[in-house]
């Protein structure tokens, strides 16, 4: 079994499968992170999100980051799936799973991966507000290579 599984999907993420992907006999610690569409941010209502990606570049970057996480944190396995297209409130846009012999590495690897995915993978989010207006999100920070 390879240590890394990455992918982009256009349908709901099978989160149980992402978690199952990292299960190994030598790994006692398994972490799954799901980033879900918030319907409320403070008082602001979001109807839904839409994502698009430079798909080949995004897949390559996700794989590179996952491999780096395995090496840096000594992970047993790691899986990353990002959903594209419309993601309704409460559904997951991204799932990251890690496994490791012990929990510190599994937590640290998953948190680092999410941090990097948000900053360095060419995927973009469009927010649909309550009034139907749509806004692509391009944070001020530069997209680092």
């Amino acid at each position: 079994m390879t240590a890394v599984r990455c992918g982009l999907v256009h349908d709901p993420i099978d989160t149980a499968a992402v978690l199952a992907d990292v299960g190994r006999a030598g790994a006692g610690a398994n972490v799954l992170f799901l980033g879900t569409t918030r319907g409320l941010t403070g008082d602001v209502v979001t109807r839904g999100l839409e994502y698009e990606a430079h798909e080949p570049l995004a897949e390559a970057r996700m794989r590179g980051l996952a491999e780096e996480a395995v090496k840096t944190f000594g992970l047993t396995a790691c899986a990353v799936v990002h959903r594209l297209g419309s993601v309704p409130v409460g559904e997951a846009s991204v799932a990251v799973a890690t496994s490791a012999p012990h929990r510190r590495e599994a937590f640290a690897g998953a948190e680092w991966l999410m941090e990097r995915i948000k900053r360095a993978v060419p995927i973009w989010k469009c927010e649909e507000a309550e009034d139907g207006s749509r806004t692509w999100v391009h944070p001020d920070a530069e997209p680092g290579p």
């Binding site: 060419p122 530069e142 997209p143």
Partner: protein, 78 residues
């Protein structure tokens, strides 16, 4: 040469692809050509990276006429 646009770049340009007359030059030259051809993309272009043949490219890198080029504005996945 076709240049792929995404997200707010595609929205600013009103299209997902720009066709640029191109023989050869650097990424910086290409940025200038895109700005001339579609001034609406300028604000976001200045904050965007350029990917050439599936890799991020520095402004000094050469871009051949047959290259696969994409503009990568600041990302917001996750």
């Amino acid at each position: 040469m076709h240049v792929s646009l995404f997200a707010g770049m595609a929205e600013a340009a009103g299209r997902r692809r720009l066709d640029v007359a191109w023989q050869e030059g650097t990424v910086a030259d290409l940025r200038a050509a895109l700005a001339r051809q579609c001034p609406a993309v300028v604000p976001l272009l200045g904050r965007s990276a350029i990917a050439v043949d599936g890799r991020y490219a520095a402004d000094t890198a050469a871009v051949s006429a047959g290259a696969d080029v994409a503009v990568i504005p600041p990302v917001s996945g996750g």
